[in-house]
């Protein structure tokens, strides 16, 4: 806004990157995070995570399928989206996007295929008619399954998972780098940005898995696997501490340097971002879950039911925290005028093409897709279920 004490360049009255660009790193964050969790089991052999590993992998795919939707909705010319791979300008930090994305997608799809191959063959043998045809296509017509192929599948899965960890980090760290490398933007431009993004991705990945894991088991009225649930909660606790501390240290060092940059960012933090950053992201949704998870991790005497509910609540809060963090980065950075003399305003609108309703849809669809995936790739064992 232009007022006597606040000036923004005339073109800055329009916010270029909307809430769609907030959703993209949010969704890829969950993708990368969920994948890394599944790899903990496959690569590092953390047996306790076994019950969740497949689920983590399939969730990763569900989110990945929708990660580009907000981007396409935002592009001025979505019909030219493939230009990014046809005529890439490799000087641009963004140009590798398509390749990294495809590469990662391939790894996830292959890993899922190899982990489910035996089950799919089993389903193929038991099904009839058109469903049988579908399964036949899915298994690529190969029905051989024995001890030898199973061992081979596991080996491939392990290799893919190991390979996938750096790729997942690249996928998400890369998004952080897109922001961190913009020297024109005071709030984004920091080499720490991609590290912060990777850690927040792991936090959101763990949080969404805990959240869904508990939720699905409540729906099915089954107890969760307490060991893996608590282990994930501990990891979540650890990673959220690192993520939050990194972010705060970053602000602290800018403030301590006390350059002109801080003069502007101080006003941003105390002004436009006061509620969404200071109050909500830091105080409510970071300190809150930190206290809850500290309690569930350190106090042994909490009854399991209460403990699980607490963990579940904390995971939900951290999901909101990461969303707020994405908002505060993407939108916050654009609120600062490059004239360093003021701040602009942004509200996405409720029913706009890039508004809140569409955003809510984009966040919810992957969860529905996940439900669909469960039919083809069942992620939790369901003993005693009547078929």
């Amino acid at each position: 806004m232009q007022t006597p004490d606040s000036f923004v360049f005339p073109n800055e009255l329009h916010t270029t990157w909307t809430v769609m660009i907030v959703l993209y790193p949010y969704i890829t964050g969950m993708v990368a995070g969920a994948f890394i969790v599944s790899s903990f089991y496959h690569v590092f052999g953390m047996e306790k995570l076994k019950p969740i590993a497949k689920f983590a992998l399939v969730s990763s795919l569900a989110f990945l399928c929708f990660a580009t939707v907000p981007l396409l909705n935002h592009l001025g010319r979505p019909d030219r989206a493939f230009n990014i791979m046809i005529t890439p300008n490799f000087n641009s930090a963004m140009s590798g996007f398509g390749f990294v994305y495809l590469f990662y997608m391939t790894i996830v799809v292959l890993e899922i295929w190899f982990s489910y191959r035996a089950e799919l063959i089993d389903k193929y043998l038991k099904s009839k008619g058109i469903v049988k045809k579908i399964y036949w296509t899915l298994i690529l017509g190969n029905t051989t399954v024995n001890e030898y192929t199973k061992a081979y599948d596991t080996k491939i899965v392990t290799i893919l998972a190991a390979f996938g960890i750096p790729v997942a980090c690249v996928l998400h760290g890369y998004v952080g780098f897109l922001f961190g490398s913009i020297k024109a933007n005071l709030w984004w431009s920091t080499p720490l940005m991609f590290i912060i993004f990777i850690f927040s991705a792991i936090v959101s990945g763990l949080a969404v898995l805990i959240f869904l894991y508990q939720f699905v088991h409540w729906l099915r009225r089954k107890p969760v696997n307490q060991d893996s649930y608590e282990l994930m909660a501990k990891w979540l606790w650890g990673f959220m501490i690192i993520a939050v501390v990194l972010e705060l240290m970053e602000v602290l060092s800018i403030s301590y340097e006390n350059t002109e940059r801080w003069e502007v960012l101080r006003q941003l933090i105390n002004g436009k971002l006061k509620i969404s950053y200071v109050y909500l992201q830091i105080f409510v949704f970071s300190v809150g879950p930190f206290l809850i998870l500290s309690a569930t991790t350190l106090i042994k005497s909490i009854p399991i039911k209460i403990k699980n509910t607490m963990i579940w609540g904390a995971s939900m809060m951290l999901l909101i925290q990461v969303l707020l963090m994405r908002w505060n980065v993407v939108i916050g950075g654009q609120l600062v005028s490059k004239s360093m003399r003021g701040f602009t305003e942004y509200f996405p609108g409720y029913f706009d093409k890039e508004g809140l309703l569409v955003s809510a849809g984009i966040i919810l669809v992957p969860f529905l897709l996940l439900k669909l995936f469960d039919i083809v790739f069942p992620f939790f064992e369901r003993p005693g279920e009547i078929k």
């Binding site: 004490d5 592009l75 001025g76 989206a81 024109a184 005028s337 360093m340």
Partner: protein
């Protein structure tokens, strides 16, 4: 005038106008010359640069209006705009640019009696030598022409907006109607014909000077050799090619 007559009159008016328009379209579109495309070698004899003498600007906004008409700039977006700086005796600074100074400035100075210094600063794309926008464009739609103008290939631009974020000067915007990025082209269509950019033509005070930096005899080179000048945000390493005479430290 009864109804019939009025209708006939209107009809007549309509036809005459249409006739005149068609005629003039024909007259103006006739060209005996073949369009002559310059080769990259020819183009590289030029390095188009821009100079703004802030001490001459009176903030009339004629340049902004000329640019809007010449380049069909969408409402509330600007390829060029003018900023007004007012500094009072306590050192407080007030900057404004109402609607980019399209309608010039209002007489709404802040505590007029207290103002010790005031000046106008026209802004436009700096056609930076090391432009951040060219660097970040993922599809190579933003590029530098052989004669040193940073341009956008609108047939290739995907409208991602990364360049808008990367330009430190707020010179770019997304034209939502076409879904692509847009900014000042130094009126590339005019300079190819040997004409000056529209804003340069429109400025009644000759505060905007345009010319070939590679030509030692050009006006811009001569002034740059003579006067002291600065560029905007030199610390960002973009190497702007729009030079400012009389640049104040308050201007960013």
């Amino acid at each position: 005038m009864d109804k019939i007559e009025r209708r006939q009159f209107l009809k007549l008016g309509l036809y005459t106008t249409a006739g005149v328009m068609m005629g003039s379209l024909f007259a103006f579109s006739r060209t005996d010359k073949e369009i002559d495309y310059k080769s990259p070698e020819d183009l590289s004899k030029f390095d188009w640069g821009f100079l703004v003498d802030t001490t001459r600007c009176i903030g009339c906004g004629a340049c902004v209006r000329a640019c809007k008409v010449e380049n069909n700039v969408p409402d509330s977006y600007f390829r060029t705009w003018v900023e007004r700086y007012e500094i009072d005796k306590n050192g407080r600074v007030r900057v404004d640019s109402p609607n980019g100074a399209l309608e010039s400035f209002k007489d709404d100075n802040f505590n007029e009696a207290e103002i010790v210094k005031a000046f106008f600063v026209p802004k436009l794309c700096n056609h930076c030598y090391d432009s951040a926008c060219t660097q970040v464009c993922p599809v190579g739609a933003t590029y530098e022409s052989p004669d040193g103008v940073v341009l956008i290939d609108k047939e290739r631009c995907v409208g991602c907006g990364y360049c808008v974020q990367a330009c430190p000067y707020g010179c770019r915007y997304i034209d939502h109607e076409k879904g692509v990025a847009d900014k000042c082209t130094l009126c590339y269509h005019r300079i190819q014909k040997g004409e000056a950019p529209a804003c340069v033509n429109a400025c009644p005070r000759a505060a905007r000077i345009f010319g070939n930096l590679k030509d030692p005899e050009s006006k811009i080179r001569k002034i740059l050799n003579l006067r002291r000048y600065g560029t905007l945000k030199p610390d960002l390493g973009t190497n702007p090619k729009c030079y400012y005479i009389g640049l104040d430290m308050e201007v960013k």
